[in-house]
């Protein structure tokens, strides 16, 4: 009988324990991604064609038609601006709140929890509530939400149509602003928590040493704390980035596609194309485009963190 060494045995055991997970991941994640790619190259753009099950390869036709589609073009612009402002907003608000809380003022515990609470709410609830807050109402007689508040404060000049606005400045639809605000409200508490953990993890000896050397508190922040927090910023960007590229529920419940698709995003278009119009091939193509977008953001991060682990 061959003696199996302890370490090999442990390794084998580990492998077998992982096997079910590996198999199901292989089928249900990577297998289905592969299947979606296959569907996106097919002509299955109606229920009857899908039912016939006859696979006709059409190459990249679905993708070409998609990129010619004005609605999809709007979607891509919307995603770009949404992601940009959403990440910027969350990061800057998050770090600001974290720094304030880190000062350990009275009641900071309570605020720390308060800022975190929105994260516990589902996007659908956030979307519904903010859709009421930013509903313009019928101006000037029956303002609603923010517009009503402005009226009570005598600031009528600030009233505008919020997410029903169709104004667009260099492809940036102003109607996205209320949606971005809602998203930042929900997730800036999360970045705050990450930054706060980072700040609390900084070795106090460093700060003390800097103080002894006569550094101002501003210098301490920008020269010492901020560089130390850089990995946290990167992780937060990755996490927020993939949320915003795939966002569906918040926008769907808050504004829908909006007039002239001003608040439309690829995920909503994918849902409608696939399950309303029965255009499975085009819907799959949208899904793959979204996957590629997310991959562009996440893969470099994964590669770099894997390298780091190997070097360790």
């Amino acid at each position: 009988m061959i003696q199996i060494k302890g370490s090999t045995r442990r390794r084998l055991l580990g492998f077998f324990i992982l096997l079910p997970t590996l198999i199901s991941l292989g089928i249900f994640v990577y297998g289905f991604i592969g299947w979606t790619v296959r569907v996106s190259f097919s002509n299955w753009n109606s229920f009857s064609k899908l039912m016939k099950g006859e696979y006709i390869f059409v190459g990249l036709r679905n993708y070409f038609r998609l990129f010619e589609d004005p609605r999809f073009q709007t979607d891509l612009w919307n995603t770009l601006f949404f992601t940009l402002f959403f990440i910027l907003g969350c990061l800057s608000l998050g770090i600001l709140l974290a720094v304030l809380l880190d000062k350990g003022l009275k009641g900071s515990r309570i605020f720390q929890n308060l800022f975190l609470f929105p994260m516990a709410i589902s996007f659908v609830v956030t979307g519904t509530v903010w859709s009421w807050i930013f509903a313009p109402g019928i101006l000037p007689k029956f303002p609603q939400g923010m517009n009503l508040l402005y009226k009570l404060l005598g600031l009528e000049s600030l009233q505008w149509s919020w997410y029903t606005s169709t104004v667009s400045i260099f492809h940036f639809n102003l109607a996205l602003i209320p949606v971005i605000i809602a998203a930042i409200w929900q997730l800036s508490g999360y970045t705050m928590a990450m930054y706060l953990a980072g700040l609390r993890g900084i070795d106090q000896a460093l700060i003390e040493a800097a103080k002894v050397d006569g550094a101002t508190s501003r210098q301490i922040f920008w020269r010492i704390k901020f560089p130390i927090l850089r990995p946290i910023t990167l992780s937060a960007m990755i996490i927020l980035g993939h949320i915003s590229l795939k966002i569906f529920d918040l926008v769907y419940s808050m504004t829908g596609s909006g007039p002239n698709n001003v608040t439309d995003v690829p995920a909503i278009y994918m849902f409608e194309t696939t399950f309303r119009a029965n255009k499975y091939a085009t819907g799959s193509a949208i899904a793959i485009v979204m996957l590629v977008m997310v991959a562009v953001v996440i893969v470099p991060y994964l590669v770099s963190s894997m390298k780091r682990e190997v070097s360790k």
């Binding site: 509903a135 313009p136 504004t255």
Partner: protein
């Protein structure tokens, strides 16, 4: 251990034996009067077939969006319910009949002697190649305008506008008086398309409108362009916040005395009644200008899928829902009219009686956005076009997109 196993097997077997007398009904009737109506219908069924157990398979979600996705998956997987709710017309034909998943039921209707109890037009909507595939349970009307009587009185509109120029005159007057002339709530897009299809019916007329769906009328017809022009004109009289409202919100504007008119299917009548209004007292109604004599049909139907697990019971179900008793039980609760023309009118309110009279005599036209006239791909494309058109107001572009969609999705 063995004993437990034996008991389990016996239990399973007895369940299977019991299960053979089941009936699974699939629908998206989960809210308000719809669910109550469905349950009342089950009661009628149990009165005649007390030993059949009904499985009420419902999937919530407005207009059946989620339910339809679930149903498609089940049909694809060869696991059909015994009978399912589906909008009569293309939503049934294009998806399930053409693909050979349904059984024709013309023979059943003939056997029960009720084929002539439904208007021929509505059975034609539910037919393919001369065979009937589903039984309409209820009918809603799409081309109705509801109005706030007090506002019209205050503004001094005595005669209801019957044509578009008259209607726009009235809208002008109302706008001058400081009210929203025409309430629209198109956050979910379809309401704008609903308005557009009503205008399309008026500019084409019932004969040509119905011809769009069998190739008799071309989309190059002048009426399509005219409809876009009228639609554009009407957009000057809607509430500016339309994109933040749902259809209920828009109807609510009429109820709150902020808006005068609302073009909506007659489920809005049910909603106004829920809010506490009496038809004819606080609110009135009329057909959409230029569509008198035409009836835009929105209908829910049930059919017989091939390989239904309990086919016998499914046929019993179809018999019950096509009976006068079944239809008169369901519809007064749901707030719609029966598809049979020999129903008991005394059970229905003033509005519904008016609608029933028209239904029996008018030309029936299938609705696009409610799944009857065209495949779902066309309806979705039209939705997109109209949604962009409201903002861009580019007639040429919209017309081109509609023509393309017609080429893509209609044969």
């Amino acid at each position: 251990m063995k004993k437990v196993l034996v008991i389990l097997v016996v239990l399973l077997l007895s369940y299977a034996a019991f299960a053979s007398n089941q009936l699974e009904i699939f629908s998206w009737w989960t809210g308000g009067g719809e669910e109550e109506g469905l349950l009342a219908l089950y009661d009628v069924f149990h009165k005649y077939y007390p030993d059949v157990e009904i499985i009420n398979a419902t999937v919530a979600g407005g207009a059946g969006t989620n339910a339809k996705a679930v149903l498609k998956t089940r049909m694809l997987g060869g696991n059909p319910p015994d009978s399912f709710q589906v909008h009569g017309g293309m939503e049934l034909i294009d998806t399930y009949v053409v693909t050979g998943m349904m059984e024709p039921i013309t023979g059943l209707l003939e056997q029960w002697g009720i084929k002539d109890k439904f208007p021929a037009d509505i059975l034609r909507i539910c037919s393919y190649n001369g065979e009937i595939y589903s039984i309409p349970v209820n009918v809603h009307r799409g081309n109705v305008v509801f109005y706030n009587k007090a506002i019209l009185e205050e503004v001094g509109i005595k005669e209801l506008p019957a044509t578009w120029p008259e209607f726009i005159e009235a809208l002008k007057k109302i706008k001058a008086a400081g009210y929203v002339p025409l309430a629209l709530g198109d956050k979910n897009k379809w309401t704008a398309t609903h308005l557009f299809e009503d205008i399309l019916l008026s500019t084409l007329g019932a004969y040509n409108y119905n011809g769009l769906w069998n190739g008799r009328t071309s989309f190059d017809h002048q009426g399509v362009k005219e409809a876009l022009e009228i639609f554009k004109e009407l957009m000057n009289y809607i509430n500016e916040n339309h994109a933040s409202l749902t259809w209920q919100d828009a109807t609510l504007l009429v109820f709150e005395g902020k808006a005068a008119f609302n073009v909506m299917g007659d489920w809005a009548e049910g909603y106004l009644k829920t809010l506490g209004w009496t038809p004819g007292k606080e609110f009135g109604w009329m057909t959409v200008p230029g569509t008198k004599g035409s009836f835009m049909v929105v209908t829910d139907t049930f059919g017989l899928p091939k390989n239904a697990p309990h086919r016998e019971n499914a046929i019993k179900w179809l018999k019950i829902i096509s009976s006068v008793e079944g239809q008169d039980t369901f519809n007064p609760i749901k707030g719609s009219i029966p598809a049979r023309i020999d129903a008991d009118k005394s059970l229905y309110d003033d509005y519904l009686t008016w609608s029933m009279n028209d239904f029996a005599t008018n030309a029936l036209c299938p609705s696009i956005i409610h799944g009857s006239a065209a495949p779902e791909g066309f309806a979705t494309a039209l939705n997109d076009t109209i949604n962009m058109y409201i903002t861009t107001k580019d007639v040429k572009k919209a017309l081109r997109e509609i023509t393309y969609a017609a080429e893509d999705y209609l044969e």
